[in-house]
Protein backbone atom coordinates (compact mmCIF):
# COMPACT_ATOMS: atom_id res chain seq x y z
CA UNK A 1 0.00 0.00 0.00
CA UNK A 2 1.95 3.08 -1.21
CA UNK A 3 2.27 6.13 1.08
CA UNK A 4 1.12 9.70 0.49
CA UNK A 5 3.39 12.70 0.92
CA UNK A 6 1.40 14.07 3.84
CA UNK A 7 1.89 10.90 5.84
CA UNK A 8 5.64 10.91 5.19
CA UNK A 9 5.86 14.52 6.39
CA UNK A 10 3.71 13.78 9.47
CA UNK A 11 5.87 10.81 10.48
CA UNK A 12 9.11 12.75 10.06
CA UNK A 13 7.84 15.71 12.06
CA UNK A 14 6.48 13.44 14.77
CA UNK A 15 10.03 12.26 15.52
CA UNK A 16 11.86 15.42 14.45
CA UNK A 17 9.48 18.20 15.54
CA UNK A 18 11.61 21.13 14.35
CA UNK A 19 12.07 19.63 10.88
CA UNK A 20 11.02 21.44 7.76
CA UNK A 21 10.17 18.86 5.11
CA UNK A 22 9.70 19.37 1.38
CA UNK A 23 8.50 16.34 -0.54
CA UNK A 24 8.24 15.76 -4.26
CA UNK A 25 6.35 12.83 -5.72
CA UNK A 26 8.69 11.72 -8.45
CA UNK A 27 6.36 9.40 -10.34
CA UNK A 28 2.90 9.96 -8.89
CA UNK A 29 2.77 6.32 -7.79
CA UNK A 30 3.14 6.89 -4.05
CA UNK A 31 6.32 4.84 -4.12
CA UNK A 32 9.02 7.14 -5.41
CA UNK A 33 9.55 10.39 -3.53
CA UNK A 34 12.32 12.91 -3.10
CA UNK A 35 12.45 14.68 0.25
CA UNK A 36 14.59 17.44 1.68
CA UNK A 37 14.59 17.50 5.48
CA UNK A 38 16.14 20.38 7.42
CA UNK A 39 16.56 20.23 11.18
CA UNK A 40 18.85 21.64 13.84
CA UNK A 41 18.98 18.14 15.31
CA UNK A 42 21.20 17.08 12.40
CA UNK A 43 23.97 19.39 13.59
CA UNK A 44 27.22 17.56 14.30
CA UNK A 45 25.95 14.31 12.76
CA UNK A 46 27.30 12.57 9.69
CA UNK A 47 25.07 12.28 6.63
CA UNK A 48 24.58 8.58 7.37
CA UNK A 49 23.42 9.39 10.91
CA UNK A 50 21.12 12.14 9.63
CA UNK A 51 19.51 9.81 7.10
CA UNK A 52 19.20 7.07 9.76
CA UNK A 53 17.26 9.56 11.93
CA UNK A 54 14.79 10.09 9.08
CA UNK A 55 14.51 6.36 8.41
CA UNK A 56 13.83 5.74 12.12
CA UNK A 57 11.09 8.39 11.97
CA UNK A 58 9.48 6.45 9.11
CA UNK A 59 9.21 3.47 11.49
CA UNK A 60 10.33 0.69 9.19
CA UNK A 61 8.42 1.77 6.08
CA UNK A 62 11.60 2.69 4.24
CA UNK A 63 12.51 -0.03 1.81
CA UNK A 64 9.14 -1.70 2.32
CA UNK A 65 5.94 0.30 1.75
CA UNK A 66 8.09 3.18 0.65
CA UNK A 67 10.25 1.79 -2.12
CA UNK A 68 12.30 4.84 -2.93
CA UNK A 69 12.95 8.06 -1.06
CA UNK A 70 15.69 10.20 -2.54
CA UNK A 71 16.74 11.94 0.64
CA UNK A 72 18.64 15.12 1.27
CA UNK A 73 19.27 16.39 4.77
CA UNK A 74 20.68 19.68 6.01
CA UNK A 75 20.88 21.86 9.07
CA UNK A 76 19.19 25.28 9.04
CA UNK A 77 21.41 28.01 7.48
Amino acid sequence: MPMDAGEIERLIRESIPDATVSIEDLRGDGDHYAAHVTSAQFAGKTRVQQHQMVYRALKGRMGGELHALALQTSTPA
Partner: protein, 115 residues
Protein backbone atom coordinates in the same frame (compact mmCIF):
# COMPACT_ATOMS: atom_id res chain seq x y z
CA UNK B 1 21.22 -12.18 20.59
CA UNK B 2 24.52 -13.00 18.87
CA UNK B 3 25.33 -11.62 15.44
CA UNK B 4 23.82 -13.52 12.53
CA UNK B 5 26.30 -15.77 10.69
CA UNK B 6 25.96 -13.62 7.60
CA UNK B 7 27.69 -10.77 9.47
CA UNK B 8 30.92 -12.80 9.40
CA UNK B 9 30.64 -13.19 5.63
CA UNK B 10 30.03 -9.46 5.27
CA UNK B 11 32.90 -8.54 7.57
CA UNK B 12 35.21 -10.80 5.58
CA UNK B 13 34.14 -9.27 2.27
CA UNK B 14 34.60 -5.67 3.37
CA UNK B 15 37.92 -6.54 4.96
CA UNK B 16 39.30 -8.34 1.90
CA UNK B 17 38.21 -5.70 -0.61
CA UNK B 18 38.99 -1.98 -0.39
CA UNK B 19 35.70 -0.99 -2.03
CA UNK B 20 32.57 -3.15 -1.92
CA UNK B 21 29.19 -2.28 -3.37
CA UNK B 22 26.19 -4.30 -2.22
CA UNK B 23 23.83 -3.83 -5.14
CA UNK B 24 20.94 -5.23 -7.14
CA UNK B 25 22.41 -6.84 -10.22
CA UNK B 26 26.05 -6.73 -11.25
CA UNK B 27 28.34 -3.83 -12.19
CA UNK B 28 27.94 -4.83 -15.84
CA UNK B 29 24.15 -5.38 -15.54
CA UNK B 30 22.76 -3.31 -12.67
CA UNK B 31 19.09 -4.18 -12.15
CA UNK B 32 18.00 -1.09 -10.23
CA UNK B 33 18.37 2.60 -11.01
CA UNK B 34 19.94 3.45 -7.67
CA UNK B 35 22.50 0.65 -7.95
CA UNK B 36 23.29 1.71 -11.51
CA UNK B 37 23.82 5.30 -10.35
CA UNK B 38 26.44 4.25 -7.78
CA UNK B 39 28.19 2.01 -10.32
CA UNK B 40 28.36 5.05 -12.63
CA UNK B 41 29.84 7.24 -9.88
CA UNK B 42 32.49 4.62 -9.08
CA UNK B 43 33.48 4.32 -12.72
CA UNK B 44 33.65 8.12 -13.04
CA UNK B 45 35.92 8.20 -10.01
CA UNK B 46 37.91 5.37 -11.59
CA UNK B 47 38.02 3.07 -8.58
CA UNK B 48 38.05 -0.73 -8.70
CA UNK B 49 35.33 -2.30 -6.58
CA UNK B 50 33.71 -5.62 -5.80
CA UNK B 51 30.00 -5.78 -6.67
CA UNK B 52 27.91 -8.12 -4.50
CA UNK B 53 24.60 -8.98 -6.18
CA UNK B 54 22.08 -9.22 -3.35
CA UNK B 55 19.42 -10.49 -5.73
CA UNK B 56 21.26 -13.81 -5.88
CA UNK B 57 22.02 -13.87 -2.15
CA UNK B 58 18.85 -13.31 -0.05
CA UNK B 59 20.75 -13.87 3.19
CA UNK B 60 23.13 -10.98 2.45
CA UNK B 61 20.24 -8.89 1.08
CA UNK B 62 18.61 -8.81 4.51
CA UNK B 63 21.80 -9.22 6.55
CA UNK B 64 23.46 -6.13 5.10
CA UNK B 65 20.50 -3.96 6.11
CA UNK B 66 20.81 -5.09 9.71
CA UNK B 67 24.60 -4.88 9.59
CA UNK B 68 24.61 -1.20 8.62
CA UNK B 69 21.27 -0.31 10.21
CA UNK B 70 20.35 0.95 6.75
CA UNK B 71 17.06 -0.14 5.17
CA UNK B 72 17.91 -0.08 1.48
CA UNK B 73 20.25 -1.32 -1.23
CA UNK B 74 22.71 -0.21 -2.69
CA UNK B 75 25.26 0.17 0.09
CA UNK B 76 28.84 1.29 -0.44
CA UNK B 77 31.74 0.28 1.82
CA UNK B 78 35.27 1.70 1.68
CA UNK B 79 38.02 0.04 3.74
CA UNK B 80 35.45 -1.74 5.83
CA UNK B 81 33.39 1.35 6.61
CA UNK B 82 29.82 2.03 5.49
CA UNK B 83 29.84 5.19 3.35
CA UNK B 84 26.19 5.41 2.36
CA UNK B 85 23.49 4.59 -0.13
CA UNK B 86 22.82 6.15 -3.52
CA UNK B 87 21.89 9.64 -2.29
CA UNK B 88 24.91 10.03 -0.04
CA UNK B 89 27.40 8.60 -2.54
CA UNK B 90 26.07 10.88 -5.28
CA UNK B 91 26.16 13.92 -2.98
CA UNK B 92 29.73 13.07 -1.87
CA UNK B 93 30.78 12.67 -5.52
CA UNK B 94 29.34 16.06 -6.44
CA UNK B 95 31.11 17.80 -3.53
CA UNK B 96 34.37 15.88 -4.14
CA UNK B 97 34.19 14.27 -0.68
CA UNK B 98 34.12 10.77 -2.18
CA UNK B 99 37.31 11.40 -4.12
CA UNK B 100 39.09 12.77 -1.03
CA UNK B 101 37.80 9.91 1.13
CA UNK B 102 39.30 7.39 -1.30
CA UNK B 103 42.58 9.35 -1.37
CA UNK B 104 42.71 9.62 2.42
CA UNK B 105 42.10 5.88 2.75
CA UNK B 106 44.84 5.16 0.20
CA UNK B 107 42.51 3.52 -2.30
CA UNK B 108 43.89 3.33 -5.85
CA UNK B 109 42.02 5.32 -8.52
CA UNK B 110 42.91 5.12 -12.20
CA UNK B 111 45.13 8.00 -13.38
CA UNK B 112 42.55 9.23 -15.91
CA UNK B 113 40.03 9.99 -13.19
CA UNK B 114 42.53 11.41 -10.78
CA UNK B 115 42.99 14.83 -12.48
Amino acid sequence: MSDPVVFDRIRQDIKDNDVVLYMKGTPVFPQCGFSAAVVQVLSHVGVKFKGVNVLTDPEVREGIKAFANWPTIPQLYVKGEFVGGCDIVREMFETGELQSLLKDKGVQVTAAAAQ
